[in-house]
């Protein structure tokens, strides 16, 4: 951990800094610039100060979208984390079975996001889809295009289908890094399956689980394409999440000022929540390690 201190390392960072800055800082400054102006036409701009921010903060549709977003991201983590860990524990460790399982599990991750929406559209529709058709045959009145609850469950199921493999692969990588000696020691001590999980596997997976929670949280908080294709945000506004609402405002209605103010607030929310989650999980992990240490 004692790396030498050398500011010349900056020369190595410079290409990354320049390319990312080009795509990040210039657009960010543009957003900041828009957020304080009323853009009537490209030539005619009026400085309005923080008016847009006030508007956005009072926008009740935005509050509704934010609430939906928080519930959605919470559900995503609630389902995908335990399921992903369970899958990782159930995965075969060696041989062609392990390779085949990995490849099949990773498949949904490589499908363009709009195609994921298309797949679930074709699968879920009552008239042409296997899923929707079977549910209707079983007497369930299922229609994701008209019933908000069905739409919600379909979007959630689609996200589980799409992203649980990510959690599973991360957890699997964590599990593979545990030396056999740990398990042998646990067996000699007569440790139960639960104790092995709680005191060996879970602490060893901490690092990758932090990454999993962060990635799943950030990405579910920006979800756009899949519900856009599947439900278009409907029925009504029931599956309109933050990105969709923002895109409607910026591109659909061309309200540049409010959209920019909204963008900044959106970005800050993600940054803040990710930061809190990260610190919380780090400290929770440290406590677990401390108590684990006493057992040794």
């Amino acid at each position: 951990m004692n790396k030498p201190y050398n500011n010349k390392a900056w020369f190595f960072i410079l290409p990354v800094f320049l390319t990312v800055a080009f795509s990040a800082i210039i657009p960010l400054m543009t957003v900041v610039n828009y957020s304080v102006q009323d853009i009537i036409s490209p030539e005619q701009k009026v400085f309005v100060g923080l008016d847009w921010f006030r508007d956005v903060m009072r926008d009740s549709e935005l509050h509704a979208a934010l609430l939906r977003q928080l519930i959605f991201s919470f559900c995503v983590l609630l389902v995908q984390l335990p399921l992903g860990i369970g899958l990782a524990l159930a995965m075969p460790h060696k041989g062609w079975k392990s390779s085949a399982t990995l490849v099949i599990l990773a498949m949904p991750l490589l499908i363009p996001w709009n195609v994921v929406g298309t797949i679930w559209q074709i699968f879920g529709r009552g008239d042409i889809g296997l899923g929707g058709h079977v549910l209707n045959l079983l007497g369930v009145d299922y229609n994701y295009a008209s019933n908000p609850l069905d739409a919600w469950l379909t979007v959630l199921l689609m996200d589980v289908w799409h992203w649980t493999p990510l959690v599973a692969l991360l957890a699997f990588a964590g599990l593979r890094s545990i030396p056999d000696a740990y398990y042998q020691a646990a067996q000699i001590d007569g440790a139960s399956r639960w104790a092995v999980f709680r005191f060996i596997q879970l602490p060893k997976m901490r690092g990758v689980l932090v990454i999993a929670v962060l990635l799943r949280f950030m990405d579910s908080f920006m979800i756009y394409t899949e519900p856009f294709v599947l439900t278009g945000g409907g029925p009504g506004n029931s599956t309109t999440f933050l990105s969709q609402y923002l895109t409607q405002k910026a591109v659909g209605q061309f309200d540049l000022g409010p959209a920019a103010a909204f963008s900044l607030i959106y970005f800050l929310i993600i940054l803040l929540l990710s930061f809190v989650l990260y610190n919380w999980m780090q400290s929770a992990g440290n406590n677990a390690n401390a108590s684990g240490g006493q057992h040794e």
């Binding site: 030498p4 210039i26 099949i104 709009n114 493999p165």
Partner: protein, 278 residues
């Protein structure tokens, strides 16, 4: 583990595991199967009867895609900008990851966190500024524009993964090479890169993957010449009459490149997803 007394118990456990795995694999594959099934049907069959396997399987939907330039050019465009993005991201990320893994320097932690914040930015936030920025510098509707825009989230990711893999290489190797009289570029290319080649492969895979699946920015920055396949699909989907067969066939074809590349990194993919730090 396989002592006689534990035999039955172990077998039970293995059975439950296998069962859980099989159920989940079925859950993954069934929607994909349905996509394939729909792509092999005519629209009349899709809309009129309900069949688990097409009555008269047809490859016409695929034929349309392979013969109509407005369809197949989408695949070519996507592959061009994805390849550009992967190469450029790796080129800039390799030295940076090396610096992060080997040295401390002024503002290193802040720099790393700042890079990660770009992975956290919703693309929707940058949609409009990107469009204007690339129009202003005359790059809109080019492959390079999409490749550059995707670097926003791929470069931080590439640095993150590569740094994890590089930190696993002991620093003694660098020092020994210098004592043996290797110059830095020669050391990096001849000794260091071969040591982390699985890391480079995995990183390339991830850059490919995230650029391949992204739609929002790719669609906004292109109109005709560089339009990606995913954008062509949404345009067709929003037309009055849905052409389910072609949509499904196009979907199946978007899965193929991913399924091919994943095979090459299958042994490292789990570690790659953990950003190299397991």
């Amino acid at each position: 583990m396989l002592r006689v007394a534990n035999m039955n118990k172990t077998q039970d456990k293995t059975l439950t595991r296998t069962l859980v795995m099989l159920v989940y694999i079925a859950f993954t594959l069934v929607p994909l199967y349905w996509l394939l099934n729909t792509s092999l049907k005519t629209n009349e069959e899709t809309l009129s009867v309900f069949t688990l396997w097409p009555n008269a399987p047809t490859l016409n939907n695929y034929k349309t895609i392979f013969t109509d330039p407005s369809w197949y050019s989408g695949y070519i465009n996507s592959i061009i900008y994805v390849a550009m993005n992967t190469v450029m991201s790796l080129l800039v990320a390799l030295p940076a990851a090396y610096a992060f893994s080997r040295y401390r320097f002024l503002g290193d932690k802040h720099m790393f966190f700042w890079l990660l914040t770009n992975r956290m930015t919703p693309p929707a936030v940058f949609l409009l500024p990107f469009f204007q920025l690339y129009s202003t510098i005359g790059l809109s509707d080019t492959h390079i524009a999409v490749a550059l825009a995707h670097m926003l989230f791929n470069v931080p990711l590439a640095v993150w993964i590569l740094e994890g893999f590089m930190s696993g290489v002991p620093r003694e190797i660098d020092e020994t090479a210098y004592i043996d009289g290797f110059s830095f570029p020669r050391f990096f290319l001849r000794i260091f890169l071969p040591l982390i080649k699985s890391g480079v492969g995995v990183t390339a895979f991830f850059c490919f993957m995230f650029s391949w699946v992204e739609l929002l920015l790719a669609r906004t920055l292109t109109s005709v010449n560089a339009k990606p396949i995913s954008a062509i699909m949404t345009r067709t989907a929003s037309a009055a009459g849905m052409d389910w067969g072609i949509l499904a066939a196009a979907g199946v074809l978007t899965i193929v490149p991913g399924a091919l590349v994943i095979w090459f990194v299958r042994n490292h993919i789990a570690k790659g997803f953990a950003m190299g730090r397991v």
